[in-house]
């Protein structure tokens, strides 16, 4: 940034650093309420029950195919997994800290973007306006408010750091040895999320067709630096190809629509989606946490309209790049198109549309919108005595975007709200409807039997989800949970088996449930049930060695079938994968009581009392009462618990 005072457009000097700090404060204020939000959406899969991030020593596994075999969550995004591991190690599982990290990352992206614009030669007012608009854009609410979507923020931040350093290298401000760091930053960014894979091309376009005149460097290393940026992306692509034998980590999954209907109908729909994206960026309404994937035809009017609109816009952008007067417009348009490529459905994605996909590609759009708003401001201020009118359209636009961002972020305040909004905005989404049903059951807490009204509502949601998409595994999981709540074990088992048949991904919770349910099936010979449960447990532990929930389910099954010492080992393993899970600790205390090791049970209860306090009151009191009762009949002395170790050694 400039070190001296500059002029922002209405007369008097202003400190660039103070001004930028002020803008960033407003951006932070928009997302301040998210600090009070719990873990939602994929946070359970990525953080709470992800045992891999609790085992720092296993991180080298990310560079081998064993990470894929072990179903390590997000194994194809090694930078993100390392970041999550560090974040968990430093901050634990308190959502407030992780939300603060997300907001911090968003601010870091804004700051790096401001630095990059400065290096390109953008004037201060435009820099501040662009960063302000980018910071409060409503489409960013999902990426900032959901902890597990910080992959977009992390990738964008590392990518912009790479561009900033690349710019300095190309201008000869730092030595050529820094190119190694450029390669590393670009590889790390792409390793966080491949959505930044086209960022080097934005740098190349900016270098060649930069909107602002710059003094040509004495030693221009543009070619070398461009090579370094591309090389960084190639490293990440190479890593992914090594892990999966191709670019896509999703394989032949039925969740990727192009795997079932082919690429052409998906691209036809994608063109329509991108016109919607443009509307959502400029006029922020119809934002949603959920969109329904569907194919479209190239002969549809909507496809033609969208394709011709976007084609004309791109052609106009290319034309403007060649004109000195309109180069800023050209750069904004062409850069946005380049950055939209990775999420344009040319490459397989399990969701065709999502607000978070717009995170990085909205940066050049923010630049164009800020420039347009300032241009409009100059027109508004013409003939007026107070020059402050120049920023009026910019501030007005920012307030609208920020207000919608603030309101949209509230959608992610908890899972119940999130999925209800999702179901309302995407009424044809089987996933959203099934999740509403599941949330209804979760909301009943520790009640043993659901009341009839809740059961009926939840079952209606599950059936509607199954009707919307018979292949949606969550519809069967939903029906399975309703059946569990009604203690109809055979029905529940059947639904979970249906769910297992429908998805090869993230089946640890399903396998864990099947392990438990198998023990409750009616059968003449209990050994049949034991064998079935053991098969599911063995498969689950083999396929998901880092799933705390799977290990805990297997432990419980061995506990119930009279294999206490196998259960003990598994309880210990499950706790090491997710120390915050009270169910594992409670089950281990009960195991010790079942074995008659009362001092060990008491010691474990005492050591783990903070974890156990997360349990429902009735459950906590029941365990405490059972301990007291056991003590009454025990011949052990009262100081015995102080002399024996607990189940989980420190």
């Amino acid at each position: 940034m400039e070190h001296g005072p500059s002029r922002a457009g209405w007369g008097e000097p202003i400190s660039p650093r103070h001004a930028l700090a002020g803008v960033l404060l407003v951006v932070a204020a928009v997302y301040l309420p998210t600090l009070g939000f719990p873990l939602v959406y994929d946070d359970g899969w990525v953080l709470s029950s992800n045992g891999f991030i609790r085992h720092v020593g296993d991180l080298p596994l990310l560079f081998s195919r064993r990470a894929v075999q072990a179903n390590v969550p997000d194994a194809f995004r090694p930078t993100l997994v390392v970041f999550d591991t560090l974040a968990y190690g430093l901050l634990g599982l308190r959502p407030v800290f992780h939300h603060a990290v997300s907001v911090g990352l968003h601010l870091a992206v804004c700051l790096s973007f401001a630095h990059y614009l400065e290096k390109l030669g953008a004037p201060l007012a435009l820099r501040l306006g662009t960063v302000g608009i980018f910071g409060v854009m409503a489409v960013h609410a999902e990426a900032v408010a959901v902890i597990s979507f910080r992959e977009d923020l992390l990738a964008a931040w590392l990518g912009l750091l790479a561009l900033n350093l690349a710019q300095r290298c190309a201008d000869g401000q730092v030595g050529a040895s820094w190119l190694v760091v450029v390669v590393a930053l670009c590889a790390l960014a792409s390793g966080a999320k491949m959505s930044v894979a086209t960022l080097p091309w934005v740098w190349i376009v900016a270098r060649r067709y930069g909107p602002w005149r710059r003094v040509p460097p004495v030693h221009d290393r543009s070619l070398l630096v461009a090579g370094a940026l591309v090389c960084g992306v190639a490293l990440a692509v190479g890593h992914r190809c090594y892990l999966y034998g191709g670019l896509s980590p999703y394989g032949e999954s039925a969740h990727v629509l192009s795997n079932t209907v082919g690429l052409a109908p998906v691209l036809a729909r994608s063109v329509q989606i991108h016109l919607t994206y443009l509307q959502q960026l400029v006029v922020p309404f119809r934002l949603s946490p959920e969109y329904v994937d569907r194919a479209a035809g190239w002969a549809e009017v909507a496809t033609w309209l969208a394709a011709s609109s976007l084609g004309l816009l791109f052609a106009y952008g290319v034309f403007c790049l060649r004109s000195d007067r309109r180069r800023l417009t050209g750069f904004s348009v062409v850069a946005a198109f380049i950055l939209a490529l990775p999420t344009s459905n040319l490459f397989p994605l399990p969701n065709m549309q999502a607000d978070r996909f717009l995170y990085l590609s909205s940066a050049p759009v923010a630049l164009g919108l800020a420039a347009a708003a300032l241009h409009a401001g100059r027109w508004v201020a013409r003939g007026r005595s107070y020059s402050g009118w120049i920023v009026a359209p910019l501030v007005g636009f920012g307030v609208v975007q920020g207000a919608v961002a603030y309101a949209t972020a509230a959608t992610y305040a908890n899972n119940a709200t999130l999925w209800q909004v999702a179901s309302r905005r995407a009424p044809l989404s089987a996933r959203a409807r099934a999740m509403v049903g599941i949330q209804r059951i979760i909301a009943t807490g520790d009640r043993e039997i659901l009341d009839a009204k809740v059961t009926a509502l939840a079952r209606a949601d599950c059936r509607r989800a199954r009707q919307l998409d018979p292949q949606e595994e969550l519809a069967h999981i939903c029906l399975g949970r309703v059946a569990i709540a009604q203690r109809r074990w055979s029905v529940a088992h059947g639904h979970y088996e249906q769910a297992l048949r429908r998805t090869p991904r993230r089946t640890d919770l399903v396998l864990g449930s099947l392990t438990q349910l198998s023990l409750d099936l009616p059968s003449d010979d209990p050994r049949d049930r034991y064998t079935l449960a053991a098969e599911y447990a063995s498969r689950g532990m083999r396929e998901y060695p880092y799933s705390a929930d799977m290990l805990a389910a297997a432990a419980r099954a061995f506990h119930r079938t009279g294999h206490p010492y196998t259960a003990l080992v598994l309880y210990r393993g499950a706790r090491s994968m997710r120390p915050e899970r009270w169910e594992t600790v409670a089950a281990a205390v009960e195991l010790m009581l079942d074995l008659g090791h009362i001092p060990t049970a008491q010691r474990t209860f005492w050591e783990q009392r903070d974890v156990l306090r997360s349990a429902p009151d009735s459950r906590y009191r029941a365990i405490a009462a059972r301990l007291r009762h056991a003590q009454d009949f025990s011949s052990d002395s009262v100081i015995e618990p102080l002399l024996v170790p607990g189940v989980f050694p420190p």
Partner: protein, 40 residues
């Protein structure tokens, strides 16, 4: 000038807060459980 900018930013922040609260989609909550199956 810095004071003017700060005043402008404060007004913008207040506008965002008031507008944001007015735009929030009111939903009856079931609970705040953190359990959830993923979307991606």
């Amino acid at each position: 000038m810095t004071r003017q900018l700060l005043a402008l930013l404060a007004i913008a922040a207040m506008g965002i807060a008031v507008g944001g609260m007015a735009c929030i989609d009111t939903i009856n909550e079931f609970d705040n459980a953190d359990e959830g199956y993923g979307a991606t």
